[in-house]
């Protein structure tokens, strides 16, 4: 008989008032016992609705069954048959919209803690398993991957297992993409990301950092160099701004700049790491996605007294993972929903001093069915701030499309691909992840990388 508790086994976490001053991981992870107990909540449904909710179709009830039996390595094998980065997905997938969103236990009470168990299994494996000796028979064909984010890493990992010689070219000095420069340490420890990348390198994938495709070398040149296919996983790294007055004042960052200074350049250990990051006492973060939550919680940890989330829609529309919203609230972030910034004001030296905001109300539903916010006339007011972080989204960097003739793109810059094969309009060039979809999720990027690898293999085998 299944465990009918309506609630998930609670996740041990650092106390909110302790953790909002450090960069250590917030959620501490299940113990063996907790994982095994949570596993007993699964009903092992025949039609497996949870699996349909997972973009890469992890065989969820099968792995949970192994967890319940205490066979964690067995569970790891089941998960990794479909998902190469379970330690990461278990932490950052928006489970409430995916696997757990479809779980029947969620109808009455909380769904099964699939993400938490996935994380446990991956962490257990990393802590205990010996790296397996692998011998892969090479097929003599070379494939290039552009960008070392989740899409690129997954594609490379799949292709190396199929016998290809794979080189990943990464613009930054460190691999990982958003996992390294965007998502903070307290949510996704960087040594964990490094280990996941190492395991792909151990399979034989070569990662060339400091190579900007489009500048250091073009896609056409890679193809002339003997790469028979190129997968582009260059992400959506171009920050959007609001286009309101005052956005270039001192103290205004894009979320990318702010988070890069802190995560990639380790600004939180300044001056031991010499890249500075400046944070004031009152910080306003514009937006309500994961990026905004990360920026707000980072600002708090760097010592800001008051941190606001300013968002023009209501809480219901906030795109962040539920857990992040919840954690942000616990840590003392102040939410200003239905508030839209209209101007940023500065003092004589050009430093941010105030943000002018207009209140919003929900109007008629728009084409997407969401009730769209409309400004309330005359409701403008100022808040005192000395730092502003704009976190309203990113679009693909134009570098690759500008230097790759024959590559068709959407009006907004995304690379156009065949949805089945991920092949672009240019023969032999594939793409996936945020560069195709616009800013999305880690698991979707991985799914795209995997699909492309399968299609590349099919094509090159002829």
């Amino acid at each position: 008989m299944a465990n009918m508790s309506p609630n998930k086994v609670a996740m041990p976490e650092q106390d909110p008032n302790v953790r909002n001053k450090n960069f250590k991981e917030v959620a501490l992870g299940y113990t063996k016992e907790m994982a095994m107990e949570e596993a007993t909540r699964c009903l092992n449904c025949k039609n497996k609705p949870c699996v349909n909710g997972c973009p890469v179709n992890v065989p969820i009830p099968e792995f949970i069954e192994k967890v319940a039996a205490g066979d964690f390595e067995g569970a790891y094998e089941v998960i990794t048959s479909e998902n190469a980065l379970p330690a990461i997905c278990g932490r950052v997938c928006p489970q409430e919209n995916q696997c757990e969103g479809k779980c029947v236990r969620g109808i009455k009470g909380e769904p099964v803690g699939i993400g938490r168990m996935e994380r446990f299994v991956a962490d257990y494996h990393m802590a205990n398993a010996e790296p397996a000796e692998v011998s892969i028979e090479k097929n003599g064909k070379k494939v290039a991957v552009v960008g070392c984010g989740p899409a690129g890493i997954t594609c490379a990992g799949e292709l190396i297992k199929k016998g290809y010689e794979v080189t990943v070219f990464e613009a930054l000095h460190k691999p990982g993409g958003v996992l390294s420069y965007g998502i903070p340490e307290f949510r996704l420890p960087k040594d964990l990301v490094a280990k996941e990348i190492e395991s792909v390198e151990n399979l034989g994938v070569k990662i060339e950092t400091n190579v900007i495709v489009g500048r250091s070398v073009t896609i056409d040149e890679l193809m002339e160099d003997g790469y028979e296919a190129v997968f582009v996983g260059s992400g959506a790294g171009l920050p959007r701004f609001l286009n309101i007055p005052g956005e270039n004042y001192l103290g205004v960052y894009s979320a990318n700049e702010f988070l890069t200074r802190v995560n990639l350049m380790k600004g939180y250990e300044f001056p031991e790491y010499p890249t500075p990051v400046k944070i004031g006492k009152k910080v306003a973060v514009v937006g309500a996605g994961n990026v905004a939550m990360d920026a707000a919680r980072t600002a708090k940890r760097l010592g800001a007294d008051e941190v606001y989330i300013v968002y023009r829609r209501s809480e219901e529309e906030a795109p962040a993972r539920l857990e992040e919203l919840h954690h942000a609230k616990e840590e003392g972030i102040i939410f200003k929903f239905l508030n839209n910034p209209v101007a940023i004001k500065a003092n004589e030296d050009g430093w941010v001093e105030k943000m002018e905001i207009v209140k919003q109300e929900l109007g008629e539903p728009d084409a997407s069915g969401r009730r769209s916010p409309v400004p309330i006339e005359g409701s403008n007011y100022d808040i005192d701030v000395d730092t502003v972080v704009i976190a309203i989204g990113q679009s693909p960097n134009p570098l690759i499309r500008h230097t790759t003739p024959g590559l068709d793109v959407q009006k907004w810059g995304g690379i156009i691909v065949d949805e089945e094969t991920m092949e672009s309009s240019k023969d032999g060039v594939y793409a996936g992840g945020d560069t195709v979809t616009g800013a999305a999720t880690v698991i979707l990027a991985m799914g795209a990388g995997k699909k492309a690898a399968a299609a590349i293999d099919k094509k090159l085998r002829g």
Partner: protein
């Protein structure tokens, strides 16, 4: 300083830059490509020691390695076949100006240059410019070499003498470029400047290098670093360069030497 960097040396053009990280904890420091040798696969950088990272770099000896070196970044300069071009350099601005003027000279354009510096020791690349410039003027603040005064004094003199330039390329401190543009605007001489805002990635990802040009926000690392000087909001650039002054100072005191 000459650095072996095949990916960069194979493709770089005048006007482009690199980003260097001296050690594993290092900042990403942008520096212009002053020269390159495609055969030896090397690029030359010339820099001024102004703070922690440049000081760290200056301690490297021949044969040493740096942690990271990436490029070429930015747009190559657009060089027009003009009647006569004047280069104006302030301090290490001479380094990025050098490959641009040399390329113009190779294209058959007569070029003059004004090199400025605080004093004689800050005037760099004089002999190198003399190889292809018709006139090399020097201006130093203390008069230790060439004219005593600013590069803008020499510029005004040249214009007053009736020398006709149909383009000026000015590279140096923002205040110098701003003042050069003030003069060239009066005389309607098209002027290109090279901006050096604070950068991190240099690939268009962070937006930290944004500048206002012609009323629009541009990212200097991908849209520039060269821009039409008449369109640049220099005052905003100057303010933005000071964003981390206190921290830079702290870093130098706390970590220097």
């Amino acid at each position: 300083m000459e650095i072996h960097a095949p990916f960069v040396a194979r493709k770089c053009e005048p006007g482009q830059f690199i980003i260097i990280r001296v050690d594993e904890k290092g900042e990403r420091v942008p520096l212009t490509i002053a020269d390159y040798d495609r055969e030896k696969e090397t690029v030359t950088i010339i820099y001024q020691v102004v703070g922690y990272s440049t000081e760290l770099l200056s301690k490297k000896k021949e044969g040493d390695y740096v942690a990271d070196f990436v490029g070429p970044l930015g747009q190559p300069s657009i060089l027009h076949k003009r009647e006569r071009v004047l280069g104006v350099a302030g301090g290490v601005g001479a380094a990025p100006l050098y490959p641009q003027l040399r390329k113009l000279a190779e294209m058959g354009v007569p070029v003059d240059v004004i090199i400025g510096g605080k004093s004689a020791e800050f005037v760099i690349l004089k002999e190198k410019f003399e190889e292809f410039c018709e006139n090399v003027f020097i201006a130093t603040d203390d008069g230790s070499l060439g004219t005593k005064g600013f590069v803008t004094n020499v510029l005004e003199d040249q214009i007053a003498k009736g020398v006709k330039y149909d383009e000026v390329i000015a590279i140096g401190p923002l205040i110098m470029m701003k003042n050069v543009v003030k003069i060239t605007k009066q005389h309607d001489i098209p002027t290109m400047v090279s901006l050096n805002p604070i950068m991190i990635d240099g690939t268009g990802m962070c937006g930290g290098c944004r500048v206002t040009v012609g009323g629009e926000t541009k990212f200097a690392c991908v849209d520039g670093p060269d821009f039409d000087g008449f369109q640049v909001d220099f005052d905003e650039c100057m303010k933005r360069q000071t964003m981390f002054r206190e921290e830079e100072h702290e870093c130098k005191i706390g970590r220097g030497k």
